[in-house]
């Protein structure tokens, strides 16, 4: 292999030099220690001897060119050697050079070992864990040996911050007022919250108007009083006044379908099916199960449905289907003695009807005063859909039917 001649260091502070004059040409034979080249540095000019006997194979630098100390300047082919033309390009390790650097072995103090276990955490990781509350054991480790690094913790903290929902603007809440002695704090159940939300939504979005009629149900009362015991024994459930009101209402709804509708931003949708929701009071709230297709039921059928829904409601056994799809709601506020109510519309319906208690009252019949069983019917209506006129006509229709119910009315 050719021997590389390198630019020597000719003084302590010399880092480079200039090739002054080649004393041999390529192909010339050369003896050991025979001068090969003159080099100039800013300290000294000197001759560089050949370290071996052989033939000058290649001169790598031109005269006048600057070379750094240690740079190869010539190749000497040793005696007896031949070389393939491209051998000069072969890698350093195959060439014999005179100051081949030994690969430095790193002294022992330079070696570093990985932590014994990925769960040994550095102080920075422990500090971040304490500050953020994130357990490093839950963080993916990208340090060596799979350790959780400071950057891994920082990433976990940043990720958690991003996934937090944007803080809601503070609602206009009344906040908690200081409790007085003896005050009782009642937690809000899910039902109560649902009712609260529905009521709030309805009153906020629907412009409520209210109207009322007085209904003379004397005939109905007389008839029902006469048959209710037998009915109960025969059917197993009560024939409530509510059933009659529902019947009258659904027939009036057939006449005035606009009351069986719903407001959508750019249209009013009149529902074909008449599904009557009846409010049932529960121990801790109320629920509104729905009699589906109430217009296709007889009075008894309605009464049976009411009884069934009420029973299951109080037993907590209503299905989602039972409480959805209502198109009109009737509320028996009279059951508690009310004579006047202003109910809140069951969103997204168009109106809600409340039947008040039946009381005997002196009323004018013809030109005389008579004692009649009177029941008020109150209705709240969505004034976007309904006006006083159609509401009044509807109520008049309900009233007419209720006032006509007597022993001749088919129950079934």
């Amino acid at each position: 292999m050719p021997v590389e001649i390198k630019m020597p260091k000719l003084g302590e502070s010399v880092v480079e030099g200039v090739i002054g004059k080649w004393l041999k040409a390529e192909g010339d034979p050369i003896e050991e220690d025979e001068p090969l080249v003159e080099v100039d540095t800013d300290k000294v000019n000197a001759e560089v001897p050949s370290p071996a006997k052989g033939v000058v194979h290649r001169l790598l630098v031109k005269e006048g060119e600057k070379v750094a100390v240690g740079q190869a300047i010539a190749l000497i082919l040793l005696e007896g050697e031949t070389v393939a033309e491209d051998a000069a390009e072969s890698d350093d390790t195959s060439q014999r050079t005179y100051d081949e650097p030994a690969s430095p072995t790193a002294p022992a103090n330079h070696r570093r070992s990985a932590p014994r276990s990925p769960h040994v955490y550095t102080p920075a990781v422990r500090r971040l864990a304490a500050e953020s509350g994130i357990d490093p054991a839950t963080v993916v480790g990208t340090g060596i040996g799979g350790r959780v690094s400071k950057k891994d913790m920082e990433r976990a903290i940043a990720a958690r911050k991003e996934s937090e929902p944007a803080p809601q603007p503070a609602a206009l809440s009344t906040g908690h007022r200081p409790l007085a002695d003896g005050d009782e704090v009642v937690p809000i159940t899910r039902m109560r919250r649902t009712i609260a939300e529905r009521m709030l939504h309805s009153t906020r979005t629907v412009p409520h108007a209210w109207t009322m009629v007085e209904v003379d149900v004397t005939s109905l009362v007389a008839w029902r009083e006469r048959i209710k015991e037998d009915f109960r024994r025969r059917e197993g459930f009560n024939l409530t006044y509510l059933a009659f009101v529902v019947k009258a209402a659904v027939e009036a709804l057939r006449e005035y379908p606009i009351l069986n509708s719903t407001w959508e931003e750019d249209r009013i949708v009149i529902k074909r099916r008449i599904n009557i929701g009846i409010a049932v009071d529960l121990e801790d709230g109320l629920i509104v199960p729905v009699i589906k297709d109430a217009d296709q039921k007889s009075i008894v059928g309605i009464a049976r449905a009411i009884a069934d829904l009420a029973t299951r409601a109080r037993a907590g056994k209503l299905t989602p289907d039972d409480v959805s799809g209502g198109t009109f709601t009737i509320n028996n506020t009279g059951a508690f003695g009310s004579i006047l109510s202003a109910p809140i519309i069951n969103y997204p319906q168009a109106a809600i009807l409340s039947m008040e208690t039946i009381t005997k009252r002196p009323v004018v019949v013809g030109d005389a005063i008579a004692i009649r069983s009177m029941m008020n019917l109150c209705m709240s209506l969505d004034h976007r859909i309904l006006d006083g006129a159609v509401a009044g006509r509807f109520l008049r229709s309900v009233k007419r039917r209720l006032e006509s119910y007597d022993a001749n009315t088919p129950l079934y």
Binding site: K9, E12, S13, P101, P104, N109, P123, R127, G143
Partner: protein, 328 residues
């Protein structure tokens, strides 16, 4: 702005300071007629004369001792110790006299001397032309030690050293004399002693260094940023004594990882003090053990080039260490 190498910068700064203040004088071996063995004082004798550029005998203890006397007498002497390896005879004058004079005289006398010390290896200087001596003086309160890295550092710190009312050891790494070039500022330029220079900001690893290894670290940092996206925060101490602990601590608090590189031996070197400072003040911010790269604890720098290369911290070593630490 002119571009100069370190040696030219030393020379230019000496000219500027001696022109600025007639009290500034220089003394040492071969500084006058010869212009210095590295040509650092070339031309000063011609301009300023024998009274201000004094060729001394080969007697380091006397060089420093005479400088101390001249300083007490009202001059601003710059004593040159031709090679750091020769400073040992002067240690008594430096540590027992110069460093303690203000304390000992109850502030009556300061000792405004500058001791210029070419140091460091990598030039096959062998046992007596390669030493790093900063550790010797590092633990002596009353002294200051500066180690400029760039031509601008040379100018600014030499000015500050001469202006300092107390003794300053001015370290010049001889391997940097001709190999390190940079912009040499014009006009008035002053770098306060005691401030480290953040040569490069980063978030992944803090590297603290000075001298020639500072340049290795700088090259490695730039290369690693480009090749592997590792962002090094590089702190050039520039002043060894007093140590700029705050800059170091703040940086480690940011990155969590510290690598100290210096050519001096490992044990008892400046790096040990940096490591202890960080362990004391920033333990809870460390995300990896503190690493030091330094020459191994062997008695001398070898003369043979291969052995010298094996002993002194190399560019590759520094780069690999940064890479490993970044991946820790």
């Amino acid at each position: 702005m002119a571009v100069k190498n370190i040696l030219e910068s030393v020379r230019a700064a000496l000219f500027e300071e001696m022109r600025r203040d007639p009290r500034v004088m220089i003394l040492g071996e071969d500084v006058g007629r010869h212009g210095g063995v590295f040509n650092a004082t070339q031309g000063l004798l011609d301009e300023f004369g024998e009274d201000r550029v004094v060729d001394t005998p080969l007697a380091e203890s006397s060089i420093v001792g005479i400088a101390i006397g001249a300083a007490v007498g009202g001059l601003l002497p710059i004593a040159e110790i031709q090679f750091a390896d020769f400073i040992h005879s002067a240690v008594d004058q430096i540590i027992n006299e110069a460093a303690k004079l203000r304390y000992r005289s109850n502030n009556d006398f300061g000792c405004p001397i500058v001791i210029r010390v070419p140091y460091g290896g990598g030039i096959t200087g062998g046992l007596y032309h390669s030493q790093s001596v900063e550790a010797l003086f590092f633990s002596t309160p009353g002294l200051k030690i500066v180690a400029p890295t760039t031509p601008a550092d040379v100018k600014g710190l030499l000015r500050a050293a001469i202006a300092d009312p107390d003794p300053v050891i001015f370290l010049e790494h001889k391997a940097s004399y001709r190999t390190i070039k940079g912009e040499y500022p014009e006009g008035d330029y002053f770098i306060p002693i005691g401030g480290a220079d953040v040569k490069r900001t980063g978030t992944d690893v803090t590297v603290v260094s000075y001298g020639m290894t500072m340049h290795y670290a700088w090259e490695a940092a730039d290369a690693l940023a480009q090749e592997e996206g590792i962002e090094v925060e590089l702190i050039d101490l520039r002043t060894l004594l007093p140590l700029d602990r705050n800059t170091i601590i703040e940086s480690v608090k940011k990155t969590g990882k510290l690598l100290i590189v210096h050519e001096d031996n490992l044990t008892g070197g400046v790096g040990a003090e940096v490591a202890a400072t960080v362990a004391e003040h920033a333990l809870m911010y460390l995300d990896a053990p503190i690493r030091r790269i330094a020459a191994p604890d062997i008695p001398a720098t070898p003369y043979h080039p291969a052995l010298e290369r094996a002993m002194l911290p190399s560019k590759e070593q520094v780069k690999e260490a940064i890479r490993e630490l970044a991946r820790y």
